[in-house]
Amino acid sequence: MSDFIEARGISFSYAMEDDPNPIRVFEELDLKIKEGEMVAILGHNGSGKSTLAKHFNAILQPDEGQLLVNGMDTRDNNKLYEIRQDVGMVFQNPDNQIVATVVEEDVAFGLENIGVEPAEIRRRVDDALERVGISEYKAHAPHRLSGGQKQRVAIAGIIAMRPRCIVLDEPTAMLDPAGRREVMKTILDLNRNHGITIVLITHYMDEAAQCDRVVVMDSGNVLLDSNPKDVFSHVKMLKSVGLDVPQATEICYEINKAGYPMPTEVLSIKECADELQKLIERTYAAKRKAAKLSQKK
C-alpha cells in the first residue's frame, strides 16, 4: 500500500487577536497514512488533532513543512478542489454541515459544485443514499431526522463525490449510543467493503479499538502510533495524557499490576474473558501442584 497522506515536518500556529505571540499547535510533525487504512486519532481537547485533520483537505495549510495528499501539495492553490474531492470531511455537529432543505438535494450539493452532469448526479446520489442506508428518507427535511441519520446524510454527501479518503472529526460526539453505532457501522462498511481510507478523530476508545491503527497525540506531538492492542496496553501513559482505555484492557492491566502475569494487549470482552480464564486455570494448576508436593512431603 502506498502513502496517501504524508505530512513532512509540518508546523502550524494560530495567531490570537490580543496576543502578539502566536499559539503553536504543532511543530515538525511527521505522519503517513496509507491508502485503504482506517486510522483513529486520539488526544484530549487542544492536543492539535482537529487542526491536523483540517490540513488533510487543505482547509488549513502548514506554516512550514509539506503536506502531500495523493502526491499533491496542499499549498498548491490550483490543486485545492482536486484535493477536496479526494479527501472528504465530516464534522462533529450534524446540523451545521447540511446545506439543503431536502436530504437528496444536500447529498447532491458537492456534485453540483464540481459541475457533474445532472443524470450522473442522480445516479451517484441514489447510490450514496443506498450505501449509508437512508434511501427511504431521501425526500425528508433534514431537521426531522435523528442525529445518527443526519450524520449519515453528511457522509452520503461526501461519498457521492467518490473520495478516496474521508476524515471524520468527532462524528459521534453529539450522538446517542444508537446513533454512534449507526455511524460506526457505516464508516466500517466504507473502509472494509469499499476500500475508502478513513481517518477517525474520536474521544471514544471503543471506536478507536475498531480501527487498524491508532495515533495518540499530545500537545502537538505523536505520542503513540501503532495497532490498537499495542496502543491501549500503555494504560498508564494514556491516562497521564487524559485519555481512557477500554475496561477490558484496564482490568487486565490492573490484575497484571497486582502481581499476576498476564498479557495487557486485550481489547474485546471475549479476549479478556479468555485471558482471565487462562490466568485462573494457570493459578489453580499451580496451587494443585503445590498442594500435591506438600502432600508427598
Partner: protein
C-alpha cells in the same frame, strides 16, 4: 412543540397543479394577477372567481384553506371598500350631511374587494402547491437573465435556501434557550414593556452567538464540499416544461382574452 411549525404553507399532493413546473406556476400566477387588474367590470371579476374555483378544485387543496388565507386581508378589504364607497363621486344614491354614497363608489368597492380577495387566494394557491425549495429554485432560474446585469441571483437563492434550512433549527434552539433561562428563574411573562424587552437579552445573545458559530461551521463544511459560488455549478434537478405547462399557459392567456372581451 415549536419545531412542528411548518415553513410556508405547502400542501403536498400529486395534482395537475402540483406537477406543473414551478416556473410556469409563477408565470401563471403573475398572468392571473394581470387578468384581475384588466377586469374592468363585475363580469370580468366573476370570470376570475370562476377560474380560481376551478384551479382550487384541480389542486385538491381544501376550500377552507382559502378562507384561512383570506382572513388576514379582511381589514384591508374593508378599508379600501370604505374609501371607495365614500370618496368616489358619481350618481348619488344616499346622502347624510356632507357624505355621499354613489353608485360608482359601490361598484368600485365591490370590484376592488373581489380583486384583492382573488389576488390573495390566487397567490396562496402557488404557495400551497409549491414547496419553498421548488419556489426558490424557480425564482433563481426565472431571474437568471439578470445575472448579466450583475444581479447576484445565485447568491440570493443560496441565502434563501440556507435560511429555509436553518429556520427550524433556530426555532428549536430558541425553545431550548428559553427553557434554560426559565430554569434559571428568568421571568418573561410579567413586567412592563421595558422589562420584557430586557428579559429578551438572555435569549437573543446566546441565539446570536450560536448562529454565528453555525454560520462559521457551515461555511467551512461548504468549502470542504468544493463550493465556490454559482459559476460552473450544475443542478441535479433539471426543470423542464411539459404539456401541462403549455396547457396552463394557454388557459391563462385565454382567460385574459375573455376578460378583455368582457370589458368591451
Amino acid at each position: 412543540m415549536l419545531k412542528d411549525i411548518t415553513i410556508g404553507q405547502y400542501f403536498p399532493g400529486q395534482s395537475f397543479i402540483h406537477k406543473m413546473d414551478p416556473r410556469m406556476k409563477i408565470i401563471s400566477t403573475l398572468l392571473y394577477i394581470v387578468m384581475l387588474f384588466l377586469a374592468g367590470n363585475l363580469m370580468g371579476i366573476c370570470a376570475g372567481i370562476l377560474l380560481l374555483i376551478l384551479m382550487y378544485q384541480l389542486s385538491g387543496v381544501p376550500m377552507n384553506m382559502v378562507t384561512k388565507s383570506l382572513k388576514p386581508v379582511i381589514p384591508v378589504v374593508i378599508f379600501t371598500s370604505v374609501l371607495n364607497i365614500f370618496f368616489v363621486s358619481g350618481e348619488v344614491l344616499l346622502k347624510f350631511f356632507f357624505i355621499e354614497i354613489t353608485r360608482e363608489g359601490i361598484n368600485l368597492a365591490i370590484l376592488m374587494s373581489f380583486r384583492i380577495l382573488c389576488l390573495i387566494a390566487g397567490s396562496s394557491l402557488l404557495t400551497y402547491t409549491t414547496s419553498p425549495i421548488e419556489l426558490t429554485d424557480a425564482i433563481e432560474r426565472l431571474l437568471n437573465p439578470l445575472k448579466k446585469l450583475k444581479v447576484p441571483v445565485h447568491e440570493l437563492s443560496m441565502m434563501m435556501t440556507i435560511a429555509l434550512r436553518f429556520i427550524p433549527t433556530l426555532i428549536e434552539e430558541t425553545d431550548k434557550i428559553i427553557n434554560a433561562q426559565k430554569a434559571r428563574g428568568a421571568d418573561m411573562e410579567s413586567g412592563g414593556l421595558m422589562q420584557r424587552a430586557k428579559a429578551l437579552v438572555p435569549i437573543l445573545i446566546p441565539l446570536f452567538v450560536s448562529s454565528f458559530r453555525r454560520a462559521d461551521e457551515l461555511a467551512m463544511a461548504m468549502e470542504c464540499r468544493c463550493y465556490r459560488g454559482g459559476d460552473g455549478r450544475t443542478r441535479m434537478k433539471q426543470l423542464q416544461y411539459s404539456h401541462r405547462d403549455w396547457i396552463a399557459l394557454t388557459v391563462m392567456a385565454g382567460a385574459i382574452v375573455v376578460v378583455l372581451l368582457l370589458n368591451v
